[in-house]
């Protein structure tokens, strides 16, 4: 018996095991929404307050759960609002299926009300995007969408469904299998290549593992740790790879790259073999490409052929899922003589440890280490800016803790909604792990409307807002590289401020937004922290509140002139670090 398109869409979501849908309604999805009303008991429907945040929530959900995040938005402005989120998911390889409503086929091309070519607009930021043109293709396309989103290197898939197709009758079957002739994700590993890689490793004197976000995507943390241990090879990570090996592990050095740890960057310069896995060597990791790991032979394991030998010329490429490659390597692993090399690395660490030398007061380092102390095995979700780098430097990931951050696109406004999405995933899994959102006073204001989503959907998170009254990360660039010409970075700036301001003073006007009052208007408790001794009690109170199902906002007032160090200037060699 034939069924309507809208019925088949809901059936598809059920068969794909979808339990949570992030949806925002509008004219071109009201039919699907109406169908969901009838199946309300089968799904958790979350209504965000903006479609950009909606996608970030789905990203947080997907990153936390490992499942596909599902988004449902209307045509036109609903669809265009998702674009930043889709790009973010694309660059961080997050599996999403985004269903957009579209005007009826007869109207497409007429510049009809709320018609936009969303498939065309997102072509370069989706793994796959398609408009359903024929009701009989609907089931197959949805099946493809989920399969493509989660297989191989995961990514966002957009399915644009015209309104008439949602209403049209057609086949009721949802296919069980897919076969796409142009898409065969790699599910095996070339053992010969892996052997070559292993041989290089075995003959290395100063081997180093560089682990990227691919380790998390493939959930290969245990395998990586076991491999490093068995071979006695030290490990550095990218920002996205942080936590690939527990940070209290003696073989772990730290993050490398633009704001990496001194010892990690120097180890990369000095190693004779770099075993990199699950990273695409983006410019924030490598610095000047000519100076990247200049003494090393490079092995590169990645699921994505196109990521290999793109930015860095590689000696042994291995196309493989990280977990699969590591499982194979583990069978051959044997300890290498790396004692001297590791001592050398420890000496570099002792020379320039990661330490802001300001462990007193409401300093970023103090805040971050206190957060970690109180929340421990939590999911930490950051926004983008200085606070993000401080979090990645000073919150150690051990045990089950993890960090979710926007690495590839660096999207301000990501943190808060992604934290809410992560909490939704934790709740769906029946767990009660805390979620801590670490955000800036700038980035928070990009999606602060989502406080309503957190409250109304009972998704409590702890917001640690690092208020330096500035778009700090850009301010830092201006401080170091633009002669302290602070333009467009002060969030306090008023028309009667003196011209060419060189930084805050007594005369500054009050900060324009009172975050505590703002939180209060949502019925959310908030504390402003201005003294060191207030840090721990506030965090403990917030941790308890989250256990009790309540969000809290902690506004940490930090000095405007705090900076993230070390820092490599964009395009310079990673050895060229500003340390003070």
């Amino acid at each position: 018996m034939d069924i309507t398109g809208r019925k088949l869409i809901v059936k598809a979501l059920q068969e794909e095991g979808v339990d949570t849908i992030f949806g925002y309604p509008g004219g071109m999805v009201t039919d699907i929404v109406d169908e969901l009303y009838k199946q309300e008991d089968k799904f958790r429907l979350i209504l965000p307050r903006h479609e950009q945040a909606l996608v970030h929530e789905a990203e947080g959900y997907a990153r936390q759960s490992g499942k596909v995040g599902v988004c449902l938005v209307t045509s036109g402005p609903g669809a265009t609002n998702t674009i930043t989120g889709i790009a973010d998911a694309h660059y961080d390889s997050i599996p999403l299926v985004i269903i957009t409503g579209q005007v009826s086929q007869g109207l497409i091309g007429n510049d009809a009300f709320q018609e936009v070519d969303i498939v065309g607009m997102t072509r370069s930021i989706v793994k796959y995007g398609v408009t359903v043109n024929d009701r009989k293709d609907l089931g197959r396309i949805l099946k493809m969408a989920f399969y493509i989103a989660r297989s191989g290197k995961p990514g966002p898939v957009l399915v644009d469904i015209p309104k008439d197709i949602q209403k049209a009758n057609g086949p009721s079957e949802y296919p069980q299998t897919v076969n796409i002739r142009g898409y065969k994700p790699n599910t095996s590993v070339h053992i010969g290549q892996l052997k070559r890689a292993f041989k290089l490793l075995r003959s290395a004197k100063r081997p180093l593992i560089l682990a990227g976000g691919g380790i998390h995507i493939s959930r290969a943390e245990k395998e990586l740790t076991a491999f490093a241990e068995k071979m006695q090879i030290p490990v550095v990570t990218t920002v996205m790879g942080k936590g690939a090996i527990p940070e209290d592990h003696p073989l772990y050095i730290g993050n490398s790259g633009m704001h990496g740890r001194y010892a990690a960057n120097i180890a990369e310069m000095e190693c004779d073999l770099l075993f990199s896995i699950g990273t695409r060597f983006n410019d924030r990791i490598t610095g000047d490409l000519n100076e990247f790991a200049p003494k090393a032979k490079i092995v590169h394991v990645d699921i994505d052929t196109a990521s290999i030998s793109r930015n860095v010329v590689v000696d042994v490429p291995v196309v493989s899922d990280a977990k699969l490659a590591l499982t194979n390597l583990l069978e051959w692993a044997e300890p290498l003589e790396t004692g001297e090399w590791r001592e050398q690395i420890s000496a570099w660490e002792a020379e320039h440890p990661l330490d802001m030398k300001k462990t007193k007061g409401v300093s970023p380092q103090n805040i971050m280490t206190s957060i970690a102390k109180v929340f421990g095995d939590a999911t930490y979700v950051t926004d983008v800016g200085q606070h993000q780098m401080w979090a990645s430097q000073f919150i150690p990931l051990n045990g089950k803790s993890r960090m979710i951050t926007s690495g590839g696109l660096g999207t301000m406004g990501f943190g808060f909604p992604a934290a809410i999405g992560a909490k939704a995933a934790i709740r769906d899994a029946g767990e009660d792990r805390p979620v801590v959102c670490i955000t800036g006073d700038g980035g928070m204001q990009m999606n602060m409307q989502e406080m309503a989503t957190a409250v109304c959907n009972e998704l409590p998170v702890t917001v640690c807002l690092i208020n330096n009254k500035f778009l700090g990360m850009v301010r830092q660039q201006q401080q170091y590289f633009y002669g302290k010409r602070y333009e467009l970075v002060c969030l306090n700036k008023r028309p009667d401020c003196p011209p060419n301001c060189k930084g805050p003073s007594e005369a500054c006007p009050p900060y324009v937004l009172d975050f505590t009052k703002w939180a209060g208007s949502y019925g959310v408790d908030a504390i402003r922290i201005e003294k060191e001794e207030e840090i721990l009690p506030a965090l403990e109170q917030a941790a308890q509140a989250q256990k009790d199902g309540r969000s809290m906002v902690l506004e940490f007032m930090v000095a405007t002139d705090e900076v993230v160090l070390p820092m490599v200037k964009g395009g310079m060699a990673n050895s060229d670090m500003i340390l003070k």
Binding site: V119, G120, R123, S124, K127, Y128, V130, T131, N133, I148, I180, R181, G182, Y183, D304, T305, A306, S309, R310, V313
Partner: protein
């Protein structure tokens, strides 16, 4: 090792015969700043499959990346590198030469004969040449025509290529 020298390269590629595929492929070239020289597309013996012939100017590394990027597209079924394999390759070119009479017209005929291209239409003071030669030969023909005649209207189709059966030269 890899060659940094820019060189003309050829790809033949099977893709799904669907809307949007051409836009996606050409968008890759513009979006990633690859130097696309020519791109042609048409259906094949299988009606749901199209075949593209693509020419790019690039160094070795970029060309490897282009092939990988194309391969990773869901709609792309198969990518073949024709750069160094024996192929047959032709491009269709029409040249309308206007305002030619008497001796000038005779000159057009002579050129056509020399290049072995067809005169496919003719009027009182204009001649239409139809040429199916390699892109390079067409370039030569065109530069000659440009030198000799002022009023030209030219349309070119871009190259199509297919692998040789016997391993003759290109």
């Amino acid at each position: 090792m890899t060659n940094k020298k820019l060189k003309n390269r050829w790809i033949a590629m099977y893709v799904e015969n669907q809307v949007g595929v051409l836009a996606k492929v050409s968008g890759l070239f513009s979006g990633k700043s690859y130097n696309l020289q020519s791109l042609t597309v048409g259906t094949t013996e299988q009606e749901d499959v199209s075949r593209m012939t693509i020419s790019v100017l690039s160094d070795d590394l970029t060309f490897e990346q282009i092939k990988k990027q194309l391969n990773s597209m869901v709609e792309v079924i198969k990518v073949m590198d024709l750069t160094d394999v024996p192929i047959h390759m032709k491009e269709i070119l029409y040249a309308k030469i206007k305002g030619v009479k008497g001796e000038e017209k005779q000159e057009v005929f002579r050129i056509a004969e020399t290049f072995r291209v067809r005169i496919c239409d003719i009027g009182e003071d204009s001649v239409l040449i139809e040429s199916a030669l390699t892109e390079r030969k067409n370039n030569e023909l065109l530069s000659l025509l440009k030198k000799q005649f002022r009023h030209l209207e030219v349309v070119r189709g871009g190259s199509v290529a297919i692998e040789s059966i016997s391993t003759s030269c290109r």
